[in-house]
């Protein structure tokens, strides 16, 4: 067997195509992941809006942006409209949850986001995942946020302060989120009981 024969043998199926369904699934997953972690769209030399966006100096633009945000936050705070899960973020979480749920055909148990990394937890293919109300849970541990999107009735596992925390996610009749596990009990009205007292927990029911 000479070199040319070896090379031609190995090179023959260089452009093998993958299964169409798997291809679509992987591309969709990558697109969703990219949309979650991509940097804020900023003008580049390729952007058609380049000239418009660069009219002011960067400092002036930053100052004006900060001023507008402060004004908005101030008004929203005074009117009592500002709470955990402000509209754009909540909207984003809803879209994400719906996308993932559709992608995995009802097998989605939770989406856990930590510092730009997103973990998707799926039920086994043969297990029908019970579908409760979608909920959003935010753990704040030493300044870092861990966001969990899941459904009422699901068991979720996250790592907090280097330890695994397992809990059931429940929504009671009053529409309040309850987290119940061996090492944690959270009820919106009573606060959290956990062996990691520094961890802050906030929850919200997502209306789909």
């Amino acid at each position: 067997m000479d070199d040319d024969k070896i090379i031609s043998l190995f090179g023959e199926d260089r452009d093998v195509k993958m299964d169409a369904a798997a291809r679509k699934r992987i591309l969709s997953l990558a697109a969703v992941e990219y949309s979650v972690v991509k940097p804020n769209r900023r003008p580049t030399e390729f952007s058609p809006h380049h000239a418009v966006v660069h009219r002011g100096s960067p400092l002036r633009v930053a100052f004006l942006t900060a001023l507008v945000i402060c004004l908005f936050l101030g008004v929203a705070w005074q009117r009592g409209h500002l709470h955990f899960g402000e509209a754009p973020r909540e909207q984003r979480e809803k879209v994400l949850l719906a996308e993932f749920n559709q992608l995995f055909e009802g097998r989605l148990q939770a989406v856990i986001s930590t510092g730009g990394q997103t973990q998707i937890v799926l039920a086994p293919a043969d297990a029908a995942a019970p579908r409760g109300q979608p909920v959003l849970i935010r753990f704040t541990d030493k300044g870092k946020d861990i966001d969990v999107m899941s459904f009422s009735g699901q068991t979720v596992q996250v790592q907090l302060d280097g330890r695994d925390l397992v809990f059931d996610t429940l929504v009671n009749g009053e529409g309040r989120v309850i987290l119940a596990g061996e090492k944690v009990f959270w009820d919106g009205s009573k606060g959290a009981v956990t062996d990691a007292p520094a961890v802050k927990i906030r929850t919200e029911v997502l209306e789909m």
Binding site: F10, M18, D19, I26, L27, L29, F46, S47, Q117
Partner: protein
């Protein structure tokens, strides 16, 4: 210019700046090639190759903003593929060790890749994957990149993080083995 007409480096720049269309175009352009490399790495196991491909594109999505225009985009992408394939190989070895006892007691239901390929009477592919499986991981990496995907020794060295001469030597050793095994082919 349409996105499909842009070169990889331009698309990678745009994706790094947050352009969804550029990222999609880049992923679409390279997914089959990445899968083809992964498939050979996994000796024809499609499920494993799909897992590697998925991890590669999730990593691409998470890390595209770190892309530096120092070299070609494909060199950078293939580095991600190689690292993921190596990780996958390590995980697989560890899993196999854990499952050995279980497998002894459990009858196999699903046909193996080899069985499927045999059913398809694709003897040539079977021979190819058999060859790759019998090479050492280092030789397999060099063979996949250079013989299967037409990379130069220099580019393969960049991807594998070793000297060009090392790639040449690994290929020399691989070819020697292949001649021994399939000398009459």
């Amino acid at each position: 210019m349409a996105l499909d007409d842009e070169d990889d480096e331009t698309l990678a720049h745009r994706a790094a700046a947050g352009d969804d269309g550029a990222f999609d175009a880049l992923a679409n352009r390279h997914i089959d090639r990445v899968y083809a490399i992964a498939l050979k790495w996994c000796s024809g196991n499609k499920a494993d190759a799909e897992d590697i491909t998925q991890e590669v594109f999730l990593k691409l999505a998470r890390n595209i903003h770190h892309y530096k225009p120092a070299g070609r985009f494909t060199t950078w992408l293939y580095q991600v593929v190689v690292n993921e394939a190596r990780d996958s190989h390590r995980r697989e070895k560890s899993r196999r060790t854990r499952e050995t006892a279980y497998e002894k007691e459990t009858p196999k239901n699903a046909p193996s890749t080899e069985e499927l390929l045999e059913k398809q009477a694709d003897k040539r592919m079977l021979a190819l994957y058999d060859m790759l499986k019998r090479l050492s991981p280092e030789q397999r990496e060099a063979v996949v990149l250079v013989f299967c995907h037409g990379m130069s020794h220099r580019d393969a060295a960049k991807v594998l993080g070793c000297a060009e001469k090392t790639v040449t030597w690994r290929l020399f050793e691989a070819k020697k083995k292949l001649r021994e095994w399939y000398g009459n082919g």
